[in-house]
Each structure stands twice: as structure tokens, then as C-alpha cells.
């Protein structure tokens, strides 16, 4: 049953082949039996899940079931869930039980999903390896000595290990696409403003965007159908019609022009990853797409610009964690200053503290223009690269990451080496463009991903290209060794 896709589970539930309670029990049992190997969940919501499943079975029997009625999913522990602890991977929020649901959680609940639990992640989504979580690292199901990627490593590993058919995730610099690539699954970061950020704990507000992780593009489309949409509670949400992403999955891609940026095939790219990427591009060409070499000349500046903008926004966002209203407060504070200092020093982990300090530095008097303003100017140059490229191409494609999954500890002492793993994903966040990753090969028995970057609000077209590729390839249906 766990090998069925979200679409197949949904169809099976609709046809009465099995009940939602049966499906839910199956996945819960599987998580309890296997997740000790991966640590992909922080919280399991067994009781609530079974109650939701029973309710879903009633709706299914009555014949008025919503789109995803009775299918189980998991939420990244960054989305607030009413009455269920939402930790954001941090000691700071280890005791935080939100009194409300994130809009994404609410939308998916309205679509009838059953929530199995909350998935592990890098602390406050700051990381590319899941090693910064207060709840311990997540292990890559393909190779448990290796990282699953981050920050949505728990969601990625849970989907890859068939512990849930799909999960929500967020992406600030690659946090959906990079773990999707490293765990051999499909993940999509929508256009900035497409999915509501209400109730999604903020890291860098001008970059953060929620999106789905699943095994197939078709399942990602099902999830995105429910997640996307305007939300008046998010001041950066965009009023733009949400199409039915399933309807265009099978569109003919012949005649489509796919731009291949030369900067994404630089000397930092692992040669075997490059080969897998080029094979996938050749497959799209076989289906009639035209490949066109393009240049995104400011690409090399995306990581430097990001490591000013993201920490600056993070230092402002994370100033709310002060020990006064919710979250961690230190024991016996001597005075107000001591309460702030110790609550924050004891509540945040090292990577988060480091980024807050960098952000404070970039925003401090005398450095604002040299760092923050400069980075925002470079951000425009990066965006303009894409705007020019999209005058000639319909889609951009290349590798998601330079390398397959690396071993634990391999990059944890070298922040810059870790940051460069996101070199191909960060630019789309800076530009606000949609991007996705889908499995396109194995390198040293570890998955690698093909990245698609669409023009603004072209999620449907990306899903279409991904789906067409998945009709003629089987990388997305391969399973990590040892997973039955």
C-alpha cells in the first residue's frame, strides 16, 4: 500500500478498495517500525490522524468527499498546527503549541487530508544537511551515512522511505529542491506569493515559499492544487488564478524551448551529475523540446547576495523570540536583559546564532549600504538575467545540485562549502521564480535531480515537463535499497 502514489491512494479510496483508516494505520505502523532508522519525524499525531481518517471515511461513504479525502500526508514542522507542537527544529520552540493553523494546513485539511505528523528539519530552516536540527539529523534513506539535504530533509526522507506519500515543505534557498534531489523524489517551489506564508514560521520573508514534496509530478500537482491561492492574511500573497495543475500534465511539450544555462555546468559540477542531467535533457529533446544554450551571467553572485539578504531578514524575523510571550525562557532571569540574552543564547543553536550575527552586522550602522543595499542591487541584476532569458525560452533546465548526498560532518566545519551546495537553487528564490527538482539518475548509487525553472506562475508548465519526463523514465519510481 505504501508503494502507491498519492493519486493511486486517492483513486483507491474513492473506489472503496480500502478505507482511510486502513491506509492511515498502515502508514503509522510503518513510521513506528522504520523511522528509528531515519529520524524523519519530530512528532507523530497518531490519535488525531485516526480521527481524521474516520471522518474521511464517512465523507467518502456519503459520496461528497473533497479532492484529497482520506489520503495521509505529513507537514514540515515549520507550519503551525493548532494544538500540535510546532518546533521549527529548535529548542526555542520545543514547547510551542500554536493556537492556530497555517493557511496551508487549513487548505489541505479542507481538501480532506489526514496528517500523520510533523517532519524534522534544519533549525529555523537554516541548513542544507539537516544537521542543525535540535532533534538530531535526518538520515538519507538511500545511504544512512549521508545527509538527506535540507532544510526540508525530514519531509524528503519520509517520502523517499515511503513513510508518507507526500509532505509539505518550504524553500528559502533550495530547501525543497535540494533535499528532493538528494533523496530521489519530486519537489516544487512555487512562484513567490503563490502559496500563503501565513502560519509558516518566517526565516527570510522575501525568499520563503511553501510547496509540495511527493514521488511524482502528478502527485505534486495534486498537492499544489490545494496549497496554492491568494490569502488576505499574507501581505505578500499574490492574486492570480490557480489553474487545475492536473489538467495540463499531459500537454504536448514538442516545440517548447528549454534554456540550458552554461553557468550551471561549471567546474564545480560533479561530472557524473552532469551526465545524468544531460541524459535527462536529451530525453526531453526526444519528446520534441528544443534545447537552447543560454547565459545567466550574474549566477556566481547569487550565493553571496543570498548570504546577506537571508541573514539580514532572519535577524529581524528572529528578534521576536525573546522569552516573553511564547517559546523558551531561561531559568530565573535576573532582569529583562538577562532574560533576552540567556533565552536566546540557550534557545538557538550555533548555525542560527551565526546567521543572526551576520544579519545584524549587514544591517548595522555604517554597513547597511555596503552589504544589504548592495545585495539588493545585485538581486535585481540576477532577476534581470532571468527576465532576459525568458524572452527566448519557455523553461530553464539544469542540475539541482552540484553533487549527490554527502556524508555527515563532511561540510559542517566549512560553512562556505555547505552554502555552495545551493549554488544552482538560490537564484530562483532571489528572483521569486518557481523551480522544481525531479529524479534523473543515480551517482554512486545516490539520487541526483534535474532542476526545472519556470517563468513566473508557470508551475503548470514545469509540472507538465516533469510529468512527460516521468512517463518515459523510472528514476522517480526507484526505491532506496532495503526499503520494501
Amino acid at each position: 500500500m505504501h508503494n502507491l502514489t498519492l493519486a493511486e491512494l486517492s483513486a483507491g479510496l474513492g473506489a472503496g478498495e480500502f478505507s482511510s483508516v486502513e491506509v492511515t494505520q498502515h502508514f503509522l505502523a510503518r513510521i513506528k517500525r522504520l523511522d528509528g532508522n531515519y529520524n524523519s519525524f519530530i512528532t507523530l499525531t497518531e490519535e488525531a490522524a485516526l480521527a481524521q481518517a474516520a471522518q474521511a471515511d464517512k465523507l467518502l461513504a456519503a459520496g461528497n468527499a473533497p479532492a484529497l479525502c482520506g489520503v495521509p500526508i505529513a507537514h514540515k514542522d515549520i507550519f503551525c498546527t493548532s494544538g500540535v507542537r510546532t518546533s521549527c527544529g529548535s529548542k526555542m520552540l520545543d514547547n510551542f503549541v500554536p493556537p492556530y493553523d497555517a493557511t496551508v494546513v487549513e487548505n489541505l485539511a479542507a481538501a480532506g487530508v489526514v496528517v500523520l505528523g510533523k517532519t524534522n528539519m534544519d533549525e529555523f530552516a537554516m541548513g542544507s544537511s539537516n544537521e542543525t536540527s535540535y532533534y538530531g539529523p535526518v538520515k538519507n534513506p538511500w545511504h544512512t551515512d549521508c545527509v538527506p539535504g535540507g532544510s526540508s530533509g525530514g519531509s524528503a526522507a519520509a517520502v523517499a522511505a515511503r513513510l508518507t506519500p507526500a509532505a509539505t515543505a518550504t524553500d528559502t534557498g533550495g530547501s525543497i529542491r535540494q533535499p528532493a534531489a538528494l533523496c530521489g523524489i519530486t519537489g516544487l517551489k512555487p512562484t513567490y506569493g503563490r502559496v500563503s506564508r501565513w502560519g509558516m514560521i518566517a526565516f527570510a520573508s522575501s525568499l520563503d515559499q511553501g510547496g509540495p514534496m511527493a514521488r511524482t509530478a502528478a502527485d505534486a500537482a495534486l498537492m499544489l492544487n490545494e496549497m496554492a491561492g491568494f490569502d488576505s492574511k499574507d501581505s505578500t500573497s499574490i492574486e492570480h488564478d490557480v489553474p487545475d495543475y492536473r489538467a495540463t500534465l499531459n500537454d504536448d511539450i514538442s516545440g517548447m524551448t528549454i534554456g540550458v544555462p552554461e553557468e550551471y555546468f561549471d567546474e564545480g559540477l560533479n561530472p557524473a551529475t552532469e551526465q545524468a542531467t544531460r541524459n535527462a535533457l536529451a530525453e526531453l529533446e526526444k519528446q520534441g523540446a528544443k534545447l537552447k544554450a543560454i547565459s545567466l551571467p550574474h549566477s556566481h553572485l547569487s550565493v553571496p547576495a543570498y548570504y546577506v539578504i537571508a541573514p539580514a531578514e532572519a535577524s529581524a524575523n528572529l528578534s521576536r523570540f525573546d522569552g516573553a510571550r511564547y517559546g523558551y525562557r531561561c531559568e530565573n532571569p535576573a532582569d529583562l536583559r538577562d532574560m533576552y540574552m540567556r533565552s536566546r543564547s540557550e534557545g538557538f543553536g550555533d548555525e542560527v546564532k551565526q546567521r543572526i550575527l551576520i544579519g545584524a552586522y549587514c544591517l548595522s550602522a555604517g554597513y547597511y549600504d555596503a552589504y544589504y543595499n548592495k545585495a539588493m542591487q545585485v538581486r535585481r541584476l540576477i532577476k534581470e538575467d532571468f527576465v532576459s532569458a525568458f524572452k527566448d525560452v519557455d523553461m530553464i533546465a539544469g542540475p539541482t545540485c552540484p553533487n549527490p548526498a554527502f556524508e555527515f560532518g563532511a561540510k559542517s566545519d566549512d560553512p562556505v562549502a555547505m552554502y555552495l551546495e545551493d549554488i544552482y537553487t538560490i537564484a530562483t528564490n532571489l528572483a521569486g521564480l518557481p523551480g522544481m527538482s525531479l529524479p534523473c539518475g543515480l551517482v554512486d548509487d545516490k539520487p541526483v535531480g534535474l532542476q526545472l525553472i519556470g517563468n513566473y506562475f508557470e508551475e503548470g508548465r514545469m509540472l507538465n515537463v516533469a510529468h512527460c519526463y516521468q512517463q518515459v523514465s523510472d528514476w522517480h519510481s526507484r526505491c532506496a535499497p532495503g526499503i520494501d
Binding site: N95, S232, P304, A324, M341, R344, L357, R380
Partner: protein, 95 residues
């Protein structure tokens, strides 16, 4: 640009994060590695380039200043470290 131990302590004060003596050195080293990466930006000519804050160039949406939420003070204060009579308690500020 690079920062030293005194800078780190000043940043810690600004961000309300205590930097212990044993961590100050390591912290300065890591932050300087990141700043060295970020310094690549200085080589770019950005004269006459308008900074981009919102990736879509969108402006903040405005709404009427009317009450849109119900008062849920009890639910919000139920998760607070310390409250009394509907107020959040913090250590004494004024002697």
C-alpha cells in the same frame, strides 16, 4: 572586511545573543569566512541599479483599518512562560 572579537561582542549585544569566551574566536572565524564570500559583491558595478526588496516588485497591500480577528487572548496567553491578570510577566524593569 573582517571582524574581530570586539566586533563580535558588539554584535552579540545588538542581537541579544551572549557570546562565551571560548566561542568568540571560533565564531569570528566562521563569520569572517562567510563575509569573505559575501565580499565578492563589492566587485560588481551597481551604480544606477535600483535595489530589489520584493522579488516581484510588489508593493505592500493595504486594507481598511477594521477589526478582522476575534480576541483570543486566553489562547495566546496559555502558551506564555508567565502571565497574570491577562498580562505577560517579565522580570522587573522599573525599580
Amino acid at each position: 572586511m573582517s571582524i574581530d572579537r570586539t566586533d563580535i561582542e558588539k554584535l552579540g549585544e545588538l542581537a541579544r545573543i551572549h557570546i562565551s569566551d571560548e566561542n568568540a574566536q571560533a565564531s569570528a572565524k566562521r563569520i569572517n569566512e562567510v563575509l569573505a564570500l559575501v565580499d565578492q559583491l563589492q566587485a560588481v558595478d551597481t551604480s544606477n541599479i535600483e535595489p530589489l526588496a520584493n522579488p516581484l516588485g510588489a508593493r505592500q497591500r493595504l486594507r481598511l483599518d477594521t477589526v478582522s480577528e476575534t480576541n483570543r487572548r486566553e489562547a495566546f496567553q496559555a502558551i506564555a512562560p508567565a502571565t497574570e491578570d491577562g498580562l505577560y510577566l517579565v522580570p522587573k524593569v522599573i525599580e
